[in-house]
Subunit: 242 residues, 2 copies
């Protein structure tokens, strides 16, 4: 085997290892979202505790991926598409780590919420929203591994559904709080969970953008569709004293 | 001049340019925090609108820094400390971009809040919190440019003050909402602003960690101090039906 072949193949092996770690991290984050949402719906404090405990492993994997990426950059000095691959790996693992953090936060708030009276129906709505994000994450990881920019763009579009779900939940919680002030504390926590789930959707979209960048060499042109209207639309957030 | 010297000096120029862009971006983000918090306190819709408009330039600068970093990696194949510098540049600009997003979101919510009756005292408390974050950001950028890991670690410690301010504001808003349900919508927005400001503090801390990594070659050992207790402490989030 020539030296050149030897270098190329061990470089490929490095890239494969890093990508395997990204996929492993993605799987752990999918599971964190799923379990956190289930623990919220079934008021399962033990499962919530588990999700919180497992986040450390997700963080450690991001750290490891960063170190591997730095090592490949230093030793192999990749260019063009190989360089893009390493850069996207750094960005994608950072997004995954943040999604994992939000799942952990959902589990933390679940532990608080299980000690309060339940607010009817809302955990089921939140779980539907979380499931949509989980599906998007699954698809964007497929798009990443298959270098499928069409699928990545499709995932970006679906983020609008998550935003619409969030808008509906935002309105519902406001109503619950106004109807009965005893709901306020629980609704505040549910609200943050909803907002964090909406942000998870944004982060999956950011991963999709990285897939497009990896395949095409350019960040997607179109502005990311923005569906959370609650911070700008006065009809959703009316002056209730008016 | 030898070829080697020529290469070294144009490499240094590349690094200087990128760092100058980081500092410029940092200045823009500082200003966004400051103006967003001021627009909230003085109910200045025009200033809020300005902050929202200026966020595009921050995003564009991040994109430019990413491209410059990729170019340097491809052309110069830096190693050791130079490589770390490029990697931290990518991470720091991503954190700055997110802080800018939170400032924009504060400005968006300000535009909604100016149409509602004011909630006494709270914008002043939020502005104090935002000012603390702004100071931390200023110091961490100094720490970055001076390669001062002691200052960076000091900034990390100060994030606890921001978290404590957030905890106090969280309790205060819950009380406002329970006392008068007409405050609920406004308080929800103020609440998100407080939480986002607390997250800005976390992002400044993440930048401080990158400075430590840049100078020492290792991520700081000690777990980042976590002061937001509102999602875990049942005494802060009691079951008010119990």
């Amino acid at each position: 085997m020539s030296d050149h072949q030897h270098i190329v193949s061990s470089f490929d092996r490095d890239l494969e290892t890093i990508q395997a770690h990204i996929m492993k991290m993605g799987g752990m984050v999918e599971r964190a979202i799923s379990d956190a949402a289930r623990s919220l719906e079934t008021r399962d404090d033990e499962l919530a505790e588990e999700v919180r405990g497992r986040d450390k492993a997700i963080d450690a994997l991001e750290e490891q991926i960063n170190q591997e990426a730095a090592r490949v950059l230093a030793l192999r000095a990749p260019t063009a598409r190989d360089l893009r691959l390493i850069l996207t790996v750094i960005k994608i693992s950072a997004s995954l780590e943040r999604i994992g953090d939000y799942a952990k936060n959902m589990a933390k708030r679940t532990s608080v919420l299980t000690r309060m009276s339940p607010v009817n129906g809302s955990p089921a709505a939140l779980r539907r929203m979380a499931r949509e994000v989980e599906e998007m994450l699954k698809d964007v990881l497929d798009a990443y591994i298959q270098r499928d920019q069409d699928l990545a763009r499709e995932v970006m579009q679906r983020d609008q559904d998550v935003d619409q779900m969030y808008n509906a939940i935002f309105r519902e919680f406001l109503t619950f709080m106004m109807e009965d002030p005893r709901n306020i504390t629980a609704c505040m926590h549910l609200h943050f969970i909803a907002k964090n789930t909406e942000r998870m959707g944004d982060l999956v979209t950011a991963i999709a953008e990285q897939v497009v960048y990896l395949v095409s060499g350019e960040m997607p042109d179109e502005p990311r569709p923005k569906g959370d209207q609650t911070s700008v639309d006065p009809s959703i957030a009316p002056d209730i004293r008016a």
